[in-house]
Structure formats: structure tokens, C-alpha cells
């Protein structure tokens, strides 16, 4: 009976456990970071993914998160202004990159066409994240406007709830092209299934990836410790592997990486 109660209440043994709300573009990289962190320190980290705007709204409404990873510095800044996050912990850990992704069997030559590949008649639907709540959705809309093709393709846009869903729509073959996060294109689940073209950085507002400790967290020290781990060479190496780096020019304009 006692054992059952312990099973049901679960987390009593790991007092140091923290819960992280993270932008959907971290859905592949963050579990690996956490695995490395847990192996090193023994501390557990629970993850909850979503569009940064959705998570911000959940935090405003009292969601019990300790740490917030946003795909856009704007949202953490808002939370800081509202007294919901501590300013001195704000850490900009990378610049997020938007890519145009097509499945392997696509006939489109992305290196030659770039963004104009979306005008090809074989592209019937294009997935993007929801611009209202997802930074990558806003970046995608901005990039389409930058290349002057937004009006032409707007009727073919399919909107994912967050950038992971936008990636899943194109990965599953239900749409022919997607404007998604580089981190998804580099993730094992998608790496072998398609090709991508990195959208040049001047085509959309910079996606500063920023993490911040939340003011209501009862695990301030544990949350800061995990944030500290992001600066660890082991962590930065992992992040770089998923295309998250601070040197924005690493993937230069229009380069076709694969």
C-alpha cells in the first residue's frame, strides 16, 4: 500500500526536479541536453513543448514551470516586464534559423530556386507555424514577404499549431514544402528524409533563442544550475549539432547545406 502511494505521488525522491517550458524548435535538442545533464548531475528535468506564445500565455496564467526557453527574445522580455521572470537570468543561447524543407522525393532544386521553389505548381500546400503564437511562423511570413511571394502563396499556406507540427505536416508528406526550424531539419527523425535550403538571415527578424528563470519557480537554484549547464562545452556542442549557435553567420545566406 505504501509502495503504491509512493508510486502514485511519484516525484518525492527527486527534490531537485525542475520543469522546463520550451519552444517547439527545441523538441529534438533539449531531450538530449537533459539526458547529458541528468547523467552529469543526477538531477531530473521535465520538458513541456509548445509555441513560445502559447507557453508565455500559460506562464501568465500560472503554469508551474521553473524555466522558459523561448524561440524569440520578445516573449521573455514581456514576462520580465510583467514581473514573471527574473531579468538577470535571461540568457540568449543561440540564433534560430528558418529553413525551407522538402521531402527527398521532391523534384524541386532548392539550391537553384531558393524561396521561389514555392511558386512551382507541384507545391500545392506549404506548412508554416502559426504566426500569431509561434516566432518561426512570424519569421516564415516575414521571409515570404521579403521575397515578394506572400500574396501568391498565401492561399496555399497550412498553419501548424507550433513549428513542430509544421515540420510534421511536411515530414509526413501531407504538404509538399515547409518553412520550419533548422533544428528539426537536422534532427535524426528528419535528417535522412529530405533536403533543405537555409533562408538568409536578412529575410526575417532575428530569432534570438533566449532562456529565463521564472519568478514563481520554487526551484530557483536548480533552474539556474540547468541554465548554467547551457554554457558548458558539452551543451554548446550539442546545441551546435542542432544548428543552434550564437555565431549567426555560421550558415551563410542561401547556402544549401545538404
Amino acid at each position: 500500500m505504501l509502495a503504491l502511494i509512493f508510486l502514485l505521488t511519484g516525484t518525492f525522491a527527486t527534490a531537485q526536479e525542475i520543469t522546463v517550458a520550451a519552444a517547439a524548435d527545441m523538441s529534438a535538442a533539449l531531450p538530449e541536453l537533459v539526458a547529458a545533464y541528468t547523467k552529469k548531475t543526477g538531477h531530473a528535468v521535465k520538458l513541456s513543448f509548445g509555441a513560445s506564445g502559447n507557453l508565455t500565455n500559460q506562464i501568465r496564467n500560472g503554469a508551474p514551470f521553473d524555466l522558459f526557453f523561448s524561440a524569440d527574445e520578445e516573449y521573455p522580455q514581456q514576462l520580465i516586464a510583467e514581473g514573471l521572470a527574473s531579468k538577470e537570468t535571461l540568457y540568449r543561447y543561440a540564433v534560430g534559423r528558418l529553413v525551407l524543407w522538402v521531402p527527398s522525393d521532391s523534384p524541386l532544386d532548392l539550391s537553384k530556386l531558393g524561396m521561389n521553389a514555392l511558386l512551382d505548381p507541384s507545391v500545392k500546400k506549404i506548412s508554416i507555424a502559426n504566426p500569431a503564437t509561434a516566432p518561426y511562423g512570424r519569421a516564415a511570413a516575414a521571409a515570404l514577404r521579403h521575397f515578394g511571394i506572400y500574396d501568391e502563396v498565401s492561399s496555399r499556406l497550412v498553419v501548424g499549431e507550433n513549428v513542430s507540427q509544421a515540420a510534421q505536416f511536411v515530414e509526413s508528406g501531407n504538404v509538399q514544402a515547409g518553412l520550419i526550424a533548422l533544428s528539426h531539419a537536422l534532427a535524426p527523425a528528419m535528417k535522412e528524409k529530405g533536403r533543405y535550403w537555409t533562408v538568409p538571415l536578412d529575410a526575417y527578424p532575428t530569432l534570438n533563442q533566449a532562456a529565463v528563470v521564472l519568478a514563481k519557480s520554487k526551484q530557483q537554484d536548480a533552474a539556474r544550475k540547468f541554465l548554467e549547464f547551457l554554457r558548458d562545452p558539452e551543451a554548446t556542442a550539442l546545441l551546435t549539432q542542432y544548428g543552434f549557435s550564437l555565431s549567426a553567420e555560421k550558415h551563410s545566406s542561401g547556402e544549401r547545406v545538404k
Partner: protein, 224 residues
């Protein structure tokens, strides 16, 4: 208040519940009168969407009927597009999703018709189909209205399937429940409030109608 999403949802629910009358009546007829020993398996299959998470349905529409599956390719070769992210896709998903809400009230009311009436009709030379049309259907009016109204209301409130396979396209797949979700996620509470209230009122009206047609007349007119 997003009226485009509202009318789109009403159109979806109207089409789905009308189609379910056409599809549901034969299924309910068979479920009522068949004596097949394995009938309970079909009954379980029809009831499945009541307990199945909508995400399971969404997953199948996306993957099993997606462009990588034979069924999806067949659909694409006929219509020129995949089922996901289209109004038809939502309609097909909703047909499955709301099926038991039509079939079960239909079957219950068919089964409640006095067997003596059916025997009398047969002895007067009516075929089973004539008996069904002239005796069973008119006596099952309350069940038919209930099935129509419940599948309409159920489709109106559909969320999981639409979130997974809708793609949130204004005027095509952005239904009222998705609109509320978007409004809440962007902290636009006053708009969400209006829409939610409207949906609450409609759902209450529909259910009042269901209970209204099913009430026992002597409760209202006790001396009869």
C-alpha cells in the same frame, strides 16, 4: 467574434449530420434486426468513437489516409489533393467521429417499436422495407431528431481532429473551436468569451431540443 469560422462550423455540422441520417439509418436498421451472432462486434465498432481519443482519428486521417499510403494516393488521384487540410477531410473525420451519436439513438428508437405492429403489417402483405418506411420510421421520429441533433452538436464542438489535420486555414478548416483556442492562446479573452458563450448557448439549445422531443407527454399533460 469570427463569423467566418462560425458559419464554416455550422456548414460542417449541417453536412455531417445530414449525411449521418443517410448512413446511420441503414446501419441502425441492420443493428436492430440482424440476428448475426457476431453483431456485438459491429456494435462495438460503431460505438468506438465515443471512447477513442480524437487524436487517434486525426493520426489515421493524417498518416493512413496521407499521401504516403495507398488509400491516400487513390484519393489524391481522384480529387487531386490529400484529405488533410481540406474541408472534405474534416467532413470525413467528423462522420466517423459523430457516427455513434446518430446510430445509437436511431437503433434505440427502432428497437422500441412494438413487434406486434411489425407482425400486423407483415400479415397485411407489406414487405419489410414498406413496414420500415410506414411503421417504424414514423414511430421513430424522436430518435431521428435526437440522432441528428446530437451528431450536429458533437461535430460543432469537434477539436482534436481539426487541430491535427485542419491546418487552421481561414474559411476552409478554421472551425469555431480552433478559433477559440487561438484567441485564448493570444490572450484575446474578450473575443474568446463571446465565441465560447455563443457555443454554450447553441449546445444548450440543441440539447434542450433533444430532451424536449423525448419527454413523456403525460409529464406535461398529466390527465392524458
Amino acid at each position: 467574434m469570427n463569423w467566418e469560422a462560425f458559419w464554416l462550423t455550422v456548414r460542417l455540422a449541417g453536412i455531417v449530420s445530414t449525411l449521418l441520417i443517410a448512413i446511420g439509418i441503414p446501419i441502425a436498421y441492420w443493428l436492430t434486426y440482424s440476428r448475426w451472432r457476431w453483431k456485438f462486434l459491429i456494435e462495438a465498432a460503431v460505438a468506438l468513437p465515443i471512447v477513442l481519443p480524437p487524436t487517434v482519428l486525426g493520426f489515421y486521417v493524417l498518416v493512413a489516409l496521407g499521401s504516403r499510403s495507398p488509400l491516400g494516393r487513390w484519393w489524391e488521384s481522384i480529387t487531386g489533393h490529400t484529405l488533410a487540410f481540406t474541408f472534405e477531410g474534416l467532413a470525413i473525420g467528423s462522420l466517423v467521429y459523430s457516427l455513434p451519436f446518430a446510430v445509437q439513438p436511431f437503433a434505440a428508437s427502432f428497437g422500441a417499436v412494438d413487434a406486434a405492429l411489425l407482425r400486423a403489417s407483415a400479415s397485411l402483405g407489406h414487405s419489410p422495407v414498406q413496414t420500415f418506411r410506414r411503421i417504424v420510421l414514423p414511430l421513430s421520429k424522436a430518435g431521428l431528431v435526437t440522432g441528428f441533433a446530437l451528431s450536429f452538436a458533437h461535430t460543432l464542438g469537434e477539436f482534436g481532429v481539426v487541430l491535427m489535420v485542419g491546418g487552421n486555414i481561414p474559411g476552409v478548416t478554421r472551425t469555431i473551436s480552433i478559433d477559440i483556442y487561438d484567441q485564448v492562446q493570444t490572450a484575446n479573452y474578450s473575443s474568446a468569451n463571446q465565441t465560447a458563450l455563443l457555443l454554450l448557448l447553441i449546445s444548450f439549445l440543441v440539447l434542450s431540443m433533444v430532451y424536449g422531443v423525448n419527454r413523456h407527454p403525460w409529464v406535461v399533460v398529466p390527465w392524458r
